[in-house]
Structures are given as structure tokens and as C-alpha cells.
Symmetry: C2
Subunit: 350 residues, 2 copies
């Protein structure tokens, strides 16, 4: 999302090197293991490389000059991202991401093509997804080991990566709990879940890691961390809005997916407290939802004020995020770039 | 399995510290996250601590004196073991281990008790198992970061842990592939799978790690690694024999489980090449298998020579393992202890 592409090529080169080495090792074990690594690599190509970009932005604007080291820290976050989405898709029984088969989808399709019954093919896809995610998670920690820096900085970076996993797993658990709760969970819990599941590992941790690698003081690192947490929540709120009201061609995501799934978002939590809920709750969360039903659901979400509420909340978090940039220690250049990040986050899909 | 209990208490103390810290962090996130960590911790208690014992044995017999550091390396392997079995159980849709609910089993039962339909409760159990395994895997790498040693040794240790994950994932993939193959896979592939899935992370890697931490030369480390690989295969072959012919009260495992599941083992692969196969293949792999069918299957496995073959093969691998102990660099004391390991491995359950 930072519109600059600092070190973009370094990150790609580092990831390319990682996968090349892994594929060479895998090939010595079995052809199917090589295929798994190829599939995992493909699932990382074409992504926005948001987290590496955030690491690089913080690092270079805080005076860091070792782009190779920063690219490796960024690549570690990209591998963590890969691990988390592969496992998240397994948990959600999703076989498609960004309109393409994900890792589990590729293996489900292979089994189907081989004539396996649907249930068997599905189980196979999910099983391979679990293995692939474990490899990517291991890769994230190993990538960090390859960063050329002093032992103390390396340990702080590993601690940040650890915190990112810890928060994401905690958020994922809350999300799993949600799917068993009747009605909609309270707003505060949804915000908490989104912060833990996404904001920490996508924004807060990469910003702090970039700052630490650059040798910035703890004050800057924590100001950036707080900025990251709030902008991450704003980003997720906008994501949830786009998931319902977004233009499919612009977002690359079906704007019916979240409604069909009955995904627990701030939009839904807000609507659950309004007079629109009895009708809305009868429409959403149905795999066979018709386009007219989706239109009706959108209408209710607008009329009951849920859309406006979510928009205002995103703006509030964006504004809170901005306030941390005023910390005296954050260089003006970095503050300006991150200010653009804020604008880009809240104005996506407009 | 090494009958000495060197550093046993240190390992327990290190793991206890790890879980105490994690539970404190989790409690700050949510009560349900704390419960997950408690469940994960319980799943590690009562295990044999085989891998830490192997690390400690190699380390101390090669002159290592920092038991705290060795205990941390051992604990890293114990956490890796936890991660692998939790995810392996998810892949196998197993909810019980050693006669008790495993992590997924605990969460499935909670959901059932809360009135969820069976399919929903099952999915919930598996989802939480995926999250728990990720946390244990992350814990393994973080535990290694906490070992007090020089940076180069730490990097070699992390590389060994990485290779262990890499091999296990490759073995798990082959195992997943097996469950889709018609008939039985060839013997060589089954041995390959067992080496990758279990022998590397359970024997080869912990032995090498103990040697490296003790500052032993590469010759010793690789002799121990080869020993570990072969004894690991022997161990697994004996496990497979016990899974079919073992005394339930001695092994703590049902001796019908493997037959019911139709688990692909050397026993089955051998039988598949004999005249006993048409009858055997009609009996095994049926969830509703009766005790008389299991008795009949055992009879066929004896009569067709599969049992004898597997016993001989285990003895051959044990003997091959022993040959590596004759390397001049392996101290006599260590060779003697590992020789006992060999005997204990092949004589289990007798």
C-alpha cells in the first residue's frame, strides 16, 4: 500500500532465492514434494507485498541503508502472511483466493481430476494446506535467521515475529469462536478480533521491525507500532465495507462472498442492534443467496446506519493513527509517507 | 527411551516456563486463548520426552556441561513433536491420542457439550488443532532462540530443526498421497515415508543437535545422524508391529486401530505381494471391523510372512544403526548407551 516501491526487487529476489533453495531440497525427496513447493510459491506471487513494503518504508525513512537485510525481514513477514492465509483458508474451508485456486484448491482439484469423490478430494486439499502452511511458517523464522544484523537486534526481531504469530493465532481463535455464537458478537469483540488477527501482523509488527532494524529508538518503534495497530484496524474496516459494497472489478473479490458467508463484521454487529436485524439475519449466511437478496441486504445495511457507522469508525481509527505520527521522534519524511498510507487505506475502492 | 533420565527435570522446568509465559500473555488476550494454551500444555504432559532425552544423552556423553542449554534444545524438539502430532491428528481426523482427547478432541467435545451438531463440533475441533499446532511450531523456533550459545552454533541448530520440519512435512505429504493410492504402495516408499515423517525429527535431528551443542566434530555428528536415521526406522517398524500385534495394556494403544484404519505399513505392503492379500484387503480398512476380523487379519499377516519380514527388517536397521557407533570418534560411553537404545527399541512390547 505504501505507494513507493522501495526495495521491491530485493524482496522478490530474496523470496525467489528462498523458494529456489527449498525446491532443490524438495526435489531430492520426491516429485510430489517439489510440486507442493511450486504450488506454495505460486500462491505468494502476485500479492501486493504489503508487509515487506511497510518494513522497507519504515526502515529506509529511519536511515537504514542495508536494503538486503530489510528485504529479508520483509520476506519473513511475507512468508508469515502466506502461512496465515493458507491455514485461515483451511479453517474457513475456502479453496479459492483472489479468484484462483489456493493451495488447498489446487490439491482438491487434482484429486477430483484423478476421480476421487468430492469429500475425499476436499479432505486431501485441506490436508496439504496444513502441511504447506507449516512450511511457510517455518520459512518465516528461518528467513529472519538469515538477516545480517547483531544478535540483540535479531532477537528483538524474532520477538516481534513471535508476537505477530501469537496475536494472529489469538485473533483466529476468537474468529473460530464467533462462528459458533448465536447472533452477532458485540462490536468491541469484533474490533478486537480484527486487530489481533490482521492489524498486528500486517501493520504494527512490520513497522516496528523496520524501525528496530534501522536502529531507531524504542519511542519511535512504539509510536509506529501504535500507528500500525490503528491503521490496521481502519484498513480492515474498509476491507469489510468493500467486501459488501465494493466494486467486484476493482477489488477482485465477489461483493456477495461476505454476505453469503454471514461473515461477522462491524457492519453486521451494528445492524444486529437495529430494527433491520430480523430481516437481515434471515437473508445473510445462506450459501444459496440470490443477487436480489444481496441487494436487499446492502439496502438494509445502509438504511439502518451500519454502513455509515463503519465508515465513521474507519475514519476515527485513521485519525487516531495519524495522531501517533506527531511524535517528535518520527522523521517528517516518514510521517508524510505514512500519512499517504492512511489516505490510501481509507479511500480504497472509491 | 534412553533409560537414563539426564536433565529430565531441566527439560520439564524449561517447558513449564515456556507455557507459564505463554499463558500469561494469552490471558491478556482472552480467557478462551488461555484455555487453548492450557489444553496445548496438557497435551505435552505425560509424554515420554523421548526427543529431549536423546538430545541430553548425546550432549552429556560428548562432554557438554551446560544442562540448561541442552534442556532448551531438547524442549525445542519436544515442542516440534507437539506441533507435528497435533497437525498429524488433524490430517488423520483423529480426536484421541493415548486414550485421551487430543487438542482437537477437547474442542470437539466442548462444542458437542454446547449442543453443536456433530459435523460443526468436528470442524471446530480441527480448526483449533490447526491454530494450536502453529503455536507449538513457533514455540519450537523461539525455544531454540533462547539457547545460550554462540551465533554459529545457534544457526547450525536452527538449520537442524529446519531440516527436521522439512523432512517431516515431506513424509506427511507422502503419507497423505498414500491414503489416495489404490492397493498398497511399494515397500521402499513406505520406508522412505517412515524415515522422513518420524525418524529424522525423532532420532537423527535430536542426536545431531546434541552433538553440535556439545561442540563435537562433524564426523561424530554425522555418524550419530546416520545412527539416528536407521534406529528411527527400526523404531517405527516396531511401532507398526505393536500397532497390530501389541498388547494393548502394554502399549496403551488399541491393537485394532491400525487395522481398522488400513494404515499403510511395511506389514501391509509385504502382504500385498502375497497370496494372502485378496482376503486381507477385504478385511482391513473398515471402521466397523469386528475383533474376529482383526484376529483373522493378524493370522494372515503371520502366515504370509509379513510379520517375520517386518521383524527381520527392524533387526537389520537396528544392526545397521549399531555399525555407525563403531566410528572411532563416538566415545565408548555414548556408544554403550546408544547400544542400549537399540536393544530397547527392537525389544519394546516383548
Amino acid at each position: 500500500m505504501p505507494d513507493e516501491r522501495i526495495g521491491h526487487q530485493q524482496v522478490d529476489r530474496v523470496l525467489d532465492g528462498f523458494f529456489t533453495a527449498a525446491k532443490e531440497r524438495a526435489e531430492r525427496i520426491s516429485p510430489s514434494y517439489l510440486s507442493l513447493w511450486e504450488t506454495l510459491e505460486k500462491s505468494t506471487v502476485g500479492g501486493k507485498r504489503l508487509r515487506p513494503q511497510i518494513v522497507m518504508t519504515a526502515y529506509t525513512h529511519l536511515g537504514g541503508t542495508d536494503l538486503e537485510a530489510a528485504a529479508r525481514v520483509g520476506a519473513a513477514f511475507e512468508l508469515l502472511h502466506t502461512a496465515l492465509i493458507v491455514h485461515d483458508d483451511v479453517i474457513d474451508l475456502d479453496f479459492v483466493r483472489r479468484g484462483q485456486d489456493n493451495v488447498s484448491g489446487v490439491y482438491r482439484r487434482m484429486a477430483e481430476t484423478a476421480g476421487e469423490p468430492a469429500e475425499v478430494a476436499r479432505h486431501r486439499g485441506l490436508s496439504v494446506g496444513i502441511i504447506a502452511g507449516d512450511l511457510a511458517l517455518t520459512g518465516a523464522f528461518r528467513m529472519l535467521d538469515s538477516v545480517s544484523t547483531d544478535p540483540m537486534t535479531r532477537e528483538i526481531l524474532a520477538g516481534i515475529l513471535d508476537e505477530a504469530v501469537f496475536a494472529s493465532a489469538g485473533g483466529e481463535l476468537i474468529d473460530v469462536d464467533f462462528s459458533f455464537a448465536a447472533g452477532s458478537p458485540p462490536l468491541a469483540e469484533i474490533l478486537d478480533m480484527e486487530r489481533l488477527k490482521t492489524a498486528v501482523y500486517s501493520f504494527e509488527a512490520p513497522l516496528r521491525a523496520g524501525a528496530v532494524l534501522a536502529g531507531a529508538g524504542t519511542e519511535v518503534a512504539s509510536a509506529l507500532g501504535r500507528f500500525g495497530r490503528d491503521i490496521g484496524i481502519a484498513y480492515q474496516l474498509v476491507d469489510d465495507l468493500l467486501g459488501v459494497f465494493g466494486n467486484e472489478s476493482a477489488t477482485g473479490k465477489s461483493s456477495m462472498g461476505d454476505l453469503r458467508e454471514g461473515k461477522r463484521t462491524v457492519l453486521i454487529a451494528y445492524a444486529a442492534q437495529t430494527a433491520g436485524w430480523p430481516e437481515l439475519s434471515g437473508i445473510i449466511g445462506r450459501p444459496d443467496m440470490a443477487p436480489e437478496d444481496a441487494d436487499r441486504a446492502r439496502r438494509i445495511l445502509v438504511d439502518c446506519g451500519a454502513r455509515q457507522y463503519a465508515q465513521d469508525l474507519a475514519a476515527n481509527f485513521a485519525s487516531s493513527a495519524r495522531s501517533y505520527l506527531e511524535c517528535a521522534e518520527v522523521p517528517a519524511g516518514l510521517a508524510a509517507v505514512l500519512d499517504d498510507v492512511v489516505s490510501a487505506s481509507v479511500n480504497r475502492g472509491r
